[in-house]
């Protein structure tokens, strides 16, 4: 009875059925516009939290990267050091590939600074001789990427004949790096947590929608509609929820960043660095939108599939 000529060619038909499913989905969403917009907002807020956290982290990384990453090494010289050994040491240091800068502080300069800072000027004047040793401050090369390279330099220059004691001042940087690493972990954790939240949220919304359209689903089944035909509009709805939530999240992060722009540049100027805040960027934005859409489709599939299979006309 079916007349083949009455049917559209398969490829065109496919496009048309998808278009038709998209229209059905848009129709369903627009029938309750407020509920739809609120769902967009909730998904957007949920997605904006991990995204915002990752942007903050990115900014911290940029700031900490602009600081001299490799720390500095203070070499405390032996007292009563003769100038030959001192010059020899300084020359060795200046020739070292791993050294970016060398600054010699004479015992006199050191004493002057110490008395200025401590306020014990009179007591220090009363001492028979200057207790402050000479110090060479060594700036390791910024080309160093790893801590162990700085450690190696530290071990090497510690052996210089004029040096009595050496101190590697890296601890605060290591702490910062540890905090950043922890932040990365926390962001990943947040991302997983909120992805699950979005999955449940969209899944639940779609589940409620399928229940709302139960009668329609039953009738379509009765008229010979396949499960995939019934499922398709719900998958589109899931995709629209995820994508729109992603756009809302993008706006939230962008607005928050504008809001924080001034205090951040003030803070960074206090640290002596001129610094522009970093936004989400192309890569993360794409990831956000594609990820959101994918989550939406997945959630819709999981929620709708089981339910649609179960329904049958009674």
């Amino acid at each position: 009875m079916s007349n083949k000529e009455n049917f559209t060619p398969f490829g065109t038909r496919r496009v048309l059925t998808h278009l038709q499913a998209l229209m059905t989905s848009l129709g369903q969403l627009s029938r309750s516009p407020w509920a739809t917009l609120i769902t967009f907002a909730v998904i957007g807020i949920a997605l904006s939290l991990p995204m915002g956290f990752s942007v903050v982290l990115k900014n911290v990384q940029v700031v900490s990267g602009s600081l001299h990453d490799t720390g500095q090494i203070s070499l405390y010289l032996k007292s009563n050091l003769d100038s030959d050994t001192l010059n020899q040491d300084l020359n060795v240091l200046r020739a070292d590939q791993g050294v970016a800068g060398v600054k010699y502080i004479t015992p006199e300069d050191g004493l002057a600074e110490f008395s200025k800072q401590s306020g014990y000027t009179n007591i220090l004047k009363g001492l028979p001789n200057n207790p402050i040793p000479g110090v060479i401050v060594v700036q390791p090369s910024p080309a160093f990427k790893f801590d162990w390279q700085v450690q190696q330099l530290y071990q090497r220059i510690k052996q210089l004949p004029g040096v009595s004691n050496a101190q590697l001042d890296m601890q605060w940087l290591q702490r910062l790096k540890a905090i950043v690493a922890m932040g990365h972990r926390a962001t990943t954790l947040l991302l997983i947590l909120f992805a699950v939240a979005v999955l449940l949220l969209i899944g639940n919304t779609i589940r409620l929608t399928t229940q709302h359209y139960r009668e329609e689903i039953e009738i379509i089944k009765l008229l010979g509609g396949t499960n995939s035909f019934i499922r398709r509009p719900f998958l589109y709805s899931g995709a629209i929820y995820g994508f729109s939530g992603g756009i809302v999240a993008w706006f939230i992060v962008d607005i928050a960043l504008h809001f924080l722009q001034n205090p951040i540049s003030e803070l960074s100027s206090l640290y002596g660095s001129q610094y522009e805040t970093v936004g989400l960027g192309m890569h993360s934005t794409l990831l956000l939108l594609i990820g959101g859409t994918f989550l939406g489709v997945l959630a819709a599939y999981l929620a709708a599939n089981r339910y649609i299979r179960q329904i049958s006309f009674k």
């Binding site: 048309l16 029938r31 329609e216 009738i219 009765l222 509609g225």
Partner: protein, 224 residues
Amino acid sequence: MIQLNKVSKRYAHGQEALLNISLELKKGEMAFLTGHSGAGKSTLLKLITMMERASTGEVIFDGVNVNRISKNKIPFLRRKIGIIFQDPHLLKDRSVFENVSLPLIITGYRYQDIGKRVRAALDKVGLLHKENVMPETLSSGEQQRIGIARAIITKPPLIIADEPTGNLDPDLSQDIMQLFEQFNQIGSTVLIASHDIGLINQLQHRRLTLKGGQLIRDEEGYMV
């Protein structure tokens, strides 16, 4: 078209709905299925339309044993059946046009021709002028005819109707039965379940009578 071989249906709670039923409905035939409520009419139709599966025996539709086919083949087989109920089950939030065109959209019918086919189907049930109306504004007789238009729009080889005149007054019921006779004359096989003996008696068609889940009478071209 339809063949039942020793079919029984027992529901999960132990109730025997059908007992050892064998019958055949040939292509182009029209038959009534009668009996008191609870005799098993609806169950029999549910087995043919694949809403339920027989507990034992074979149900063969269009050469396919529907008891054995996988669930994902059912939709394609169902497209060959126009199903009509006492309650027409129209979608309340769609216009008459959208309701009637639904089977064409499901089967992927060519979009340009949908309007033409919908109008032809509505014309057949005498409701051509109602295509843009919402179903709830129509009388129950009109709603039933919209349901019939939806069932026959794909020109299905088999039409199954379960108490199609249950809610209608006698005049309207007669109109509906005449519609089914017209579809039968065009070539569709028609099976109608009805307990309206008065109405059935006026029409000269095969009559299958069920009682307590058993087929107790099978009369050809019965006329009072």
